[in-house]
Symmetry: C2
Subunit: 327 residues, 2 copies
């Protein structure tokens, strides 16, 4: 059987064929030679999906919450894509993959597409393919895309820069969860959810968090004046999930009203363009003078014959006078 062309795949994905969606994401993840063609085909069809990030420490109930949110969006007749970023190392891998089983209630719903992406390195930045995979789901007509990451390391910061709305989940009894996570989560959360709110200590977690947000003040967050609400939920029974969906809608209305949604998306696109350009330039640096320039300059620096700034000048000058590598 002939392999489908990029155009055929994109047409099929846009028409809602889940196998075409899966194939496109795989091509993107493998940095296939068709990547550029695929991205060019997707560009005019994307830009409609609402991107929601969901993060929190292991054990707060992320997958259960994601699953409950999927049900809530489906009840509103929206099509939902889920990208679950799995750590590729044994760091937290086991438990996460086990949780994923809970998503199976949506496995036969054609309005839901669920996909795991491997994260980058043991500190868990998002997969470099995440923005591209998002664009595939966006072009394929999913109204909402949930991106779920473990709230450890770089991924939770990355997700905030990708998403229109970032949910941070907490749960009672996670030890020093609130205090330890303090600095990070205030910077990234648009909506806080205290999950497992029927458990002992939920009230404490709620109070600590509310207090922390009050202390930070309305202008402290990078959200430009939005004060993240704190909601309570018991995701395993679907309790409080409608309120979370409402809070996401409130946040979106606020973003639109203040002109922040478009600004966020443009900043995200600028970051993405910059990263692609820098990756390309880094490859070219490695190729300069058949790959020997950087090595010989590094040897000169180690020998004290030059300094890294002067060496960098020579690399940058070299880039301006060489043929581009086809990447």
């Amino acid at each position: 059987m002939r392999a489908a062309s990029a155009t055929e795949l994109v047409d099929a994905a846009t028409a809602g064929n889940p196998r075409a969606v899966a194939r496109l994401i795989s091509l993107v993840e493998d940095a296939s030679g068709q990547l550029r063609e695929i991205m060019a085909l997707l560009a005019p069809r994307a830009g409609h999906a609402q991107v929601i990030g969901l993060t929190g420490s292991p054990g707060v109930g992320k997958s259960t919450s994601t699953s409950a949110l999927v049900s809530a969006f489906r009840a509103r007749d929206l099509r939902v894509g889920v990208l679950a970023i799995d750590p590729s190392s044994p760091f937290t891998g086991g438990a996460l993959l086990g949780d994923r089983v809970r998503m199976q209630e949506h496995a036969t719903d054609p309005g839901v597409y669920i996909r795991s992406l491997a994260s980058r390195g043991h500190l868990g930045g998002l997969s470099w393919a995440t923005p591209q995979a998002l664009r595939v789901l966006d072009a394929a007509g999913f109204d909402v895309v949930l991106v779920e990451t473990v709230g450890v390391g770089q991924a939770e910061v990355d997700i905030a820069s990708l998403a229109d709305c970032t949910l941070v989940l907490l749960a009672p009894g996670m030890g020093d969860g609130v205090q330890a996570a303090k600095a990070g989560i205030l910077e990234i959360a648009d909506v806080f959810v205290v999950n497992k709110a029927d458990r002992d200590g939920a009230e404490n977690t709620y109070r600590e968090l509310t207090h922390m947000i009050a202390l930070a003040g309305p202008a402290a967050a990078s959200q430009g004046g939005w004060r993240p609400p704190v909601l309570k939920a018991v995701a395993s029974r679907g309790e409080g999930i409608a309120e979370v969906v409402d809070a996401i809608a409130d946040h979106r209305a606020w973003l639109v009203e203040h002109g922040v949604l478009d600004a966020r998306r443009r900043r995200r696109a600028a970051d993405e363009i910059e990263q692609i350009a820098l990756t390309r330039l880094r490859l070219r640096m490695g190729d300069l003078r058949d790959g020997s320039l950087l090595h010989s300059l590094a040897a000169d620096v180690v020998a004290g014959l030059t300094d890294p700034y002067t060496a960098a000048d020579r690399v940058v000058a070299g880039l301006a006078t060489t043929q581009p590598r086809h990447a």
Copy 2:
């Protein structure tokens, strides 16, 4: 009083003047306009110091161990510099700064220089100025430079790429310390130290760690065949510290014997050159067409008029045809 020139400062630092060393590191940290001149002056004088990284979770006794190591190196008549990377956010800041007080026993020793550098962001990557500050201490004739970081997030990975030898500290009773840290520490440690070895559970921590290293196998580590030893210490009483110094020396002898020391230093210099070049290129990207090119391309991507790969092509092409920014 006239401000000292870069040449005067570098001369004074090389002659062992601690105020000149402090001033140079401040100029470097502030990315002063003299940075490039300073780096060029330091280049021929650096390259002699042995760089030792020291990392571990909060509470394992990093500062106490650093202090004990400083004493041990001083007893061998070596001059010692210490760069302590402090998180700049409240993430773990409080406790760390308190611990720093323990270093004061060395405050009046002219053969010791101690300096804090703020880390980058709340996830704790090293300060971008760390390699430059290292070079200042190196040129100033310190035989050993200890770089101490909190073993959380990116800093512990960064330190392994900067140091000739990376010590990873653990302590008993740190909860799931060994298991949780597993993936990360095996990749970066050249020497393991189980500190607070007089406490309950030390034997368990030691056994777990030894078992983990045995499982990983001799070739699993990025250290190219070196199998990290596991030592026990009670740093607060100086016990086991001489053995740690011996292990560092063994590791260094091994690096030299296998030609790895120079290879590591060249790789480090290549990374540094690449980072400086990429930073410069990123600045230039932002400057293209008076700062409007990246923004208008991002707006086009958001509007679906182009894709990020095509946009990146235009940015890269723009770089080749513009005058460099003086940075």
